[in-house]
Symmetry: C2
Subunit: 217 residues, 2 copies
DNA sequence: AATCGATTAAAACAACTGTTTAATACGATC
DNA sequence: GATCGTATTAAACAGTTGTTTTAATCGATT
């Protein structure tokens, strides 16, 4: 006797349930039984359809990245003929929206930041396929703002600074929820935060650019 | 028969071992048996000296904050007669050094950031006693830079931005280790990063201050 | 030397973990 | 309708977890 909501294949139900559970508890604290009960399937199904809990987790991560990129495509700021400042603003807005998406499919960013904060074996693959290309894109964007003469390490520090301002909203969500809930009350509030980070960073970057010019002239 | 290194009381050995294990694995994945074997005591000792694993964790967190504040006192930038920019620089340098301290006693910051990223019941106490005062101090420091007219929410966003740039080095350590290890190779490299964050932030803050003046005049 | 409270030790507890097994039910093919 | 591979189930497995129990040991006091 199949269960009530049997429209969706078992393996798909497992994958979706696993996204929820892994996002909520992390790989180590998520339990196979929890996943299976949410998917309304037997405990043995995880090992039947996916080889193991770990293999399921890997596939969940891959699926999450696909979904995140589907919902928040990076098309808008790929065009190189718009001003760098505007490209940076678009990039930050897109990234922050992706991070703060609390909808059903926004669990993906939780998974990823969890993986960064507490890496499993899966991190190295993620780095290569997803994170490095995104970082390279951001570097390409801020390069014209900061100037050609900029030190390589300086650029790296700027990159991390911009990422840090964004990721703060995810990694320290627990604190923001408790101290500054207004900042992330709704979508428009988050947009304002993105706008702020962009202006903050552009101001700093141009300032650094001026200093570079001075010191090398 | 007592064990070899019996100079230190059992409860102290347990506490120190617990700092290591909780920092490395987090509360949920740390095991009582691991802690006890590192402290060279029986498994039952945790429940004998501390009531439970959870109670031990609470005491470990409190101990860690005491140690962190002992090693990185906030005296230097408490004096209000030095320029705000310099106070901010000192604050950031102190904070980043505290975060990146990899020595034996630097495990404390690992514990704290872990607690922020994945809160237990203990977080609310930590917030009140340790984090809020530090945030208030930073707010007091940047207030003069950003100007009196600044919006309350704007100040909050700036606060988070500065914290985010610093915490990035802790929360996303796994990525920095893999992509930009030079940035945190040694103490002087970290100092340079602190200097960078300070300049980056000051540039942005003064820029915001100018914009505020324009829009309200 | 006997006694008492505090400490340590080994063992067992019950609950939970991921995984496996072995039996059953199903659905299509012959 | 029997047969065969697939899917599902309940049960059990072996390992680990935090905690408790019960007994042994120690050190000081009487």
């Amino acid at each position: 006797m199949k269960h009530s909501n049997a429209i969706e294949p078992v393996s798909d139900r497992l994958l979706h349930a696993a996204v929820e559970v892994f996002a909520e508890y992390g790989f180590r604290d998520a339990t196979v039984r929890d996943i299976c009960s949410r998917a309304n399937v037997n405990v043995a199904s995880v090992n039947y359809y996916f080889r193991s809990k770990e293999s399921l987790y890997t596939q969940v991560l891959a699926f999450s990245f696909r979904e995140a990129n589907r919902l928040y495509p990076q098309d808008a700021f790929l065009e190189k003929n718009i001003p760098s400042e505007q490209r940076l603003t678009l990039f930050i807005r897109n990234f922050l929206n992706k991070l703060m998406d609390d909808s059903h499919l926004g669990l993906h960013s939780k998974l990823i930041t969890r993986e960064i904060a507490d890496p499993t074996k899966a991190l190295d693959d993620i780095l290569k396929v997803e994170i490095v290309p995104q970082i390279n894109l951001l570097e390409e964007i801020i390069q014209p703002i900061i100037g050609i003469k900029a030190d390589k390490l300086t650029i790296q520090r700027c990159l991390l600074g911009i990422y840090g301002q964004c990721l703060m909203f995810k990694h320290s969500r627990s604190i923001i929820d408790r101290l500054y809930p207004e900042l992330i009350a709704d979508h428009s509030a988050i947009e304002t935060c993105a706008e702020h980070i962009a202006q903050f960073s552009i101001a700093a970057l141009t300032q650094i650019a001026h200093q570079q010019e001075k010191s090398t002239s």
